[in-house]
Subunit: 374 residues, 2 copies
C-alpha cells in the first residue's frame, strides 16, 4: 500500500496577527491533489492538527472541512494522533463515530496498543505523551523521562506485531539526534526529553510529527518527520515544506514539495536598501517577511514605513542593535517645552523643525499652557 | 413510533461555582433508564446541549460520553439541534460522521428543510436562529423578527410534507403565550421576539427547547417544551423536571419526572430560624439552596456561617433589605485606631471586645504603630 505522511498543520496559527487560515486551506488543496496523483491508500497526520488547545470557531470549521474532504468525500482512511499543541479531549470528541468511516483518531496512550490494520500494514498510532502518563499506565515509578517511557511502549507494541505485516509507528515527539526548529519549545536537544532513535528499530517506518523540518532526520533511513504544512517561523524560511509518500512494498519514501500561496522569507538589508525601488522590485513582496535591519540608528515609525512596501512583515530584527538614545541630561530637565521638542526632533529626524513646524509647535504649546492656567 | 423529547441540558453549567457535571451525569443515567423502560425508537434533544459556546474540556468529555452512550452503545437515533447557548460551529463538528449512525445534528437553518424520516414520522430539525439569518436565506428584507421569520420557514417545510406521515418540528425558540423562566434572556414575552403558536398549526407535534419549564405551554395540545434536565435557577425551584414520551400513533404525550441527585430549593426564614436545629433538621440540607433571609440587620460573615449548615447555598437574598450601616461620622475620623476598632466590633457583633481580644488588639496596633515609626 501507499500512504501520505503529513503532520504539524497548526490550523488557526497566526504569524504576528496575520491569519493563516486561507494559506492553510490553499496548501491543503495541493495536498489533496498530491494524494490523488500519488494514488495513496491512506493519509497519516502525525499530530498538531490545531495550533492551540482551544482553537477558534474559524479554525474548528476549517479543520472539520479538511477532514470531511479527505475522509467523507474522498474516502481516504485517516490515521490521526494528537500532538502537544492539540487538546486531546477536544480532538477526540466524536472519535467513536469517526472510526465508522476509517478515520482513526488516537489521543490517549492506551489506544496506541491496538494497531489499525490497512492492507499489508499495522499502524500503531501513539499520540503525544508525557512521561508521567506512561509511568501511570505501566505502573512503573522508575519512568521519569521520554527516553525511559518509550521502551515499554515499543515492547508492548511488538507483542502485537503480526510477522507477515509491515509495522509502522505514527507519533509526535522529539527523536534524539535531529536538528531543532525554532518553533518547538520545552525540548532539550539530545537530552532526556528525547526518544533515542535506536529504540525505534523494530518498526519498518516511523512517521513523526513535532519538528517542522522534514530533513531533521535526513540520515535516518526509517524514521522521518514530514515537516509542517507551511513555514511557521522565520527560522523555517529556508526549509522546503511538503509531504512524504511511503510505499510499504519497497518502504521507499518520496518527498513531494507543496507551494504556499505566500512564501515566508527573511530579508537582511539596510533601511535605505529596503526602500530603494531597484532593490524591492526584485523581492517577493507578497511573502511573509522577517526583516533583519542592518542599520544602527533609530528610524521613526520603521515598521509602518516598511509595510507600505512589504505588506506582510511579521518581524523586525536589528542585526547590529540600535545605537542607544542618549539619556535625558539633567540640564535638559530645565529646558522649556519648545526647546525640548526642537532637540528631540533634531535627534530623531536628523534635521531641524521647519519654519511652519516651529510655528505649529509654538501655537500648540501655547494652547496647552493657557489650558493649564484656566 | 415512540420518541423521548428532552432539551436544555446545559452541560457544564455551574450554580454559583458549584460544578453540576456529576449531577448532570446522574440524571442522564435516569434518562437512559426511562428511554429503555419506555422502549422509545428515537431521542430528540431540542437545543442548549452545552451551557456555553466555549465549553470546558470536562463539559466536552461529559457530553461526548452521553451521546456515545445513547447513539453508539444503545443505538438510539438522535435528533439534535443547537440552541442559543451552543456554538453552532463547535456543536456541528463531526456531523458528517454522526449521521452514519443516525445521529442527526442540525445547526444551520438550511439543514432544517431536509426532514429526517424515522418510521411513520418526518422530523424537521430547526436549530436556534436569528431573524437576520432567515432574511438572508430567503432574500426577504421585510423579515426583521422571529414572528415574521417563522412563516416562510414553515411554508418551506410544508412543501416537504408527505401526507401519509406524521410531521414533527424540533426547535429552540420562545413561543408566544408561555410563561417565562428566569434563566432565559433577551426575550420580550409575547412581543415580536416570540413565535406565534398559531403559525405552528401544521405540525402534529412541536418539540421545543429554550424555556426550562415543561408546563410553559400546558394549555397547548401539540406544542411542548420538555423543560430542562435539572433545575438551573432558584426561579425553577418549584418546577418538576423530566422528559416527555411521545407516541406518534396516538400523538399522546406523557411526562416522566426525573429525580435529581441534589434538589434545588428556596428557603425563606430568619437567620435565627435557619440556624436552629429544630428548623434545619427538617430541611433538605443536601439541596442547592437559594436563601431568602428575612432579617434586616447586618449579620457578619452570614454566607460562611450558613454554609456550615447548608453546604450548597447558591444565593442569598434579603427579603426585606438590609438596614443601612450608619455612615462614618466626621467625629469618628478623629478617633484613635483602638477606639475605632472597639466601636466597629460592637456594631458588627453586638457585643464588646473581651478582655483578651482587647489585649491582642492593643498589642497588634502597638506593633503596627512602632513599625510605622521605624
Amino acid at each position: 500500500m501507499r500512504f501520505l505522511h503529513t503532520a504539524d498543520w497548526h490550523i488557526g496559527k497566526k504569524l504576528n496577527d496575520f491569519d493563516l487560515l486561507e494559506d492553510q486551506q490553499a496548501v491543503f488543496e495541493q495536498l489533496v491533489t498530491v494524494a490523488k496523483q500519488q494514488q495513496v491508500d491512506a493519509i497519516v497526520i502525525a499530530g498538531d492538527l490545531y495550533d492551540r488547545a482551544l482553537p477558534s470557531e474559524a479554525a474548528v470549521a476549517t479543520l472539520d472541512h479538511m477532514l470531511v474532504t479527505l475522509n467523507r468525500k474522498l474516502n481516504y482512511p485517516l490515521l490521526v494522533i494528537s500532538g502537544n499543541h492539540d487538546s486531546a479531549v477536544r480532538l477526540r470528541t466524536g472519535r467513536s463515530w469517526f472510526s465508522t468511516t476509517k478515520m482513526y483518531v488516537n489521543t490517549q496512550l492506551a489506544e496506541a496498543f491496538t494497531p489499525v490494520e490497512l492492507g499489508d500494514t499495522q499502524f500503531f498510532l501513539l499520540p503525544y505523551f508525557e512521561p508521567f502518563a506512561v509511568r501511570d499506565y505501566f505502573q512503573d515509578a522508575t519512568i521519569t523521562n521520554v527516553a525511559q517511557a518509550i521502551r515499554p511502549i515499543v515492547a508492548k507494541m511488538k507483542a502485537q506485531f503480526k510477522p507477515d505485516m509491515r509495522h509502522i509507528l505514527v507519533s509526535h515527539f522529539f527523536a534524539a539526534g535531529s536538528d531543532h526548529s525554532a518553533s518547538e519549545t520545552k525540548v532539550n536537544v539530545g537530552g532526556l526529553d528525547a526518544v533515542p532513535i535506536d529504540d525505534l528499530a523494530a518498526f519498518d517506518y516511523v512517521a513523526l510529527g513535532h519538528l517542522h523540518n522534514h530533513n531533521a532526520l535526513h540520515a535516518e533511513p526509517k524514521i522521518q518527520y514530514s515537516g509542517a504544512l507551511l513555514k511557521y517561523a522565520v527560522a523555517e524560511a529556508k526549509q522546503e515544506k511538503g509531504v512524504y509518500i511511503v510505499d510499504t512494498d519497497t518502504m521507499a519514501r518520496t518527498f513531494i514539495p507543496l507551494t504556499p500561496q505566500h512564501d515566508l522569507i527573511e530579508l537582511k538589508a539596510s533601511y535605505a536598501e529596503l526602500t530603494d525601488p531597484d532593490f524591492y522590485r526584485q523581492q517577493d513582496r507578497d511573502a511573509y517577511i522577517g526583516v533583519d535591519l542592518t542599520d544602527t540608528q533609530v528610524i521613526p515609525n520603521v515598521m509602518a514605513q516598511l509595510r507600505k512596501i512589504y505588506p506582510r512583515i511579521i518581524s523586525l530584527r536589528r542585526e547590529n542593535g540600535v545605537t542607544a538614545v542618549k539619556p535625558l541630561k539633567q540640564r535638559q530637565r530645565d529646558l522649556d517645552p519648545l526647546s525640548l521638542l526642537k532637540n528631540f526632533y533634531a535627534e530623531m529626524m536628523q534635521t531641524d523643525l521647519t519654519a511652519d513646524q516651529l510655528k505649529w509647535a509654538k501655537a500648540g504649546l501655547g494652547e496647552a499652557e493657557s489650558g493649564q492656567k484656566q
